[in-house]
């Protein structure tokens, strides 16, 4: 059975590039692209929602 991938929406207008989501993601799904966070490896996402929980800027929305 194919694994259902979550959607990670990053609102670039809100992101201030603090690196919190990138550092605290346990499977290193996210990376910095310039000043904002971006999804690098969605396959590795374990839907722990840490990025959404910790983002201080309301910039990440994860739909598992």
């Amino acid at each position: 059975m194919e694994k259902k991938l979550p959607t990670i929406e990053i609102i670039e207008k809100y992101c201030k590039g603090c690196h919190i989501c990138v550092e605290f993601c346990p499977t290193k799904v996210l990376e910095m692209q310039g000043f904002v966070a971006a999804v690098k490896n969605l396959d590795a996402c374990i839907k722990c929602m840490q990025c959404e929980l910790r983002c201080p800027d309301f910039a990440i929305k994860v739909t598992p």
Partner: protein
């Protein structure tokens, strides 16, 4: 399912003014989740603040909000609660706003045990005005007004609240984001004056001066020094050196001010 924060945020207000990595946004998320868990009616909830970085929080919340004079959040909130006791009142402020300029209002609100929740975002510094030291700045820490290190000992805000008579006192950190909403929800449900101190990170004015290389380092520092109350019971005083306790630190039941005041009015009417 992702939590819908937008329901509680005033349209068009984001992005907020806080610096990159500032923990205030994390605490605001926790407050929103707590309001949602308890099921507060936003039209019947007043969020009151003074002046400062943390005090900008009510401006983003789609509730009844009051942005008042520096340190006077507790005084204005007491007025709101006395006039409308059925309203849920939540105060938000920083360490400088709450314990220096508004220190007296804070301790007397604790003493009265009026049914409100005070969330103190303790980032150990006056962030908005340029990084002056506050009563919560640790001894030896550098601020713009203490370039050689702060000679004063810091307030333990939770102990101050307990000593002044608050009936619910809890402490969390911006690293333990999952715990914040639970602590605030319990504080809102407690009948009496509740204080929730959240140890926060200020990378811009505190971190840079105190050799924290990044926000992540500040977050990891909060993780290292925090010890849950239950775990601390099994630890020796030496092991607890330099640590801070997190969780619900104190809880008791005591007559609440607005209901006592209503009884007093009834007594006065009967005596006529």
């Amino acid at each position: 399912m992702a939590f819908d924060y937008d329901k509680y945020i005033r349209p068009g207000k984001l992005p907020h003014i806080w610096c990159p990595g500032c923990g205030h946004g994390i605490v605001m998320k926790g407050l929103i989740r707590a309001i949602d868990t308890v099921g507060l009616d936003t039209k019947n909830t007043a969020i009151v603040s003074g002046i400062g970085c943390a005090s900008r929080l009510p401006g983003y919340m789609d509730c009844c909000t009051l942005h008042t004079a520096h340190g006077r959040a507790a005084a204005f909130a007491t007025g709101v609660k006395m006039a409308k006791p059925e309203m849920d009142v939540i105060l938000v402020g920083g360490d400088g706003d709450g314990t220096a300029i508004g220190g007296n209002h804070f301790i007397h609100a604790c003493r009265r045990n009026i049914n409100m929740t005070y969330i103190i975002l303790n980032n150990k510094i006056y962030g908005m005005t340029g990084g002056q030291f506050s009563p919560a700045t640790p001894t030896g820490a550098k601020a713009s007004t203490t370039p050689y290190g702060n000679p004063d000992p810091a307030f333990d805000i939770a102990k101050l609240a307990i000593g002044a008579g608050a009936t619910f006192v809890a402490r969390g950190t911006s690293f333990h984001a999952n715990q914040i909403d639970k602590l605030i929800a319990e504080a809102i449900q407690h009948k009496g004056f509740s204080v929730v101190e959240i140890l926060d990170d200020c990378p811009t004015t505190y971190g840079r001066r105190n050799k924290f290389k990044s926000v992540i380092e500040m977050m990891n520092h909060l993780k290292d020094i925090a010890v849950p109350v239950k775990a601390a019971e099994k630890m020796s005083p030496e092991q607890l050196e330099g640590k801070i306790l997190t969780g619900v630190l104190f809880k008791e039941e005591r007559p609440e001010y607005t209901s006592e005041y209503a009884k007093l009015i009834e007594r006065a009417k009967a005596a006529k």
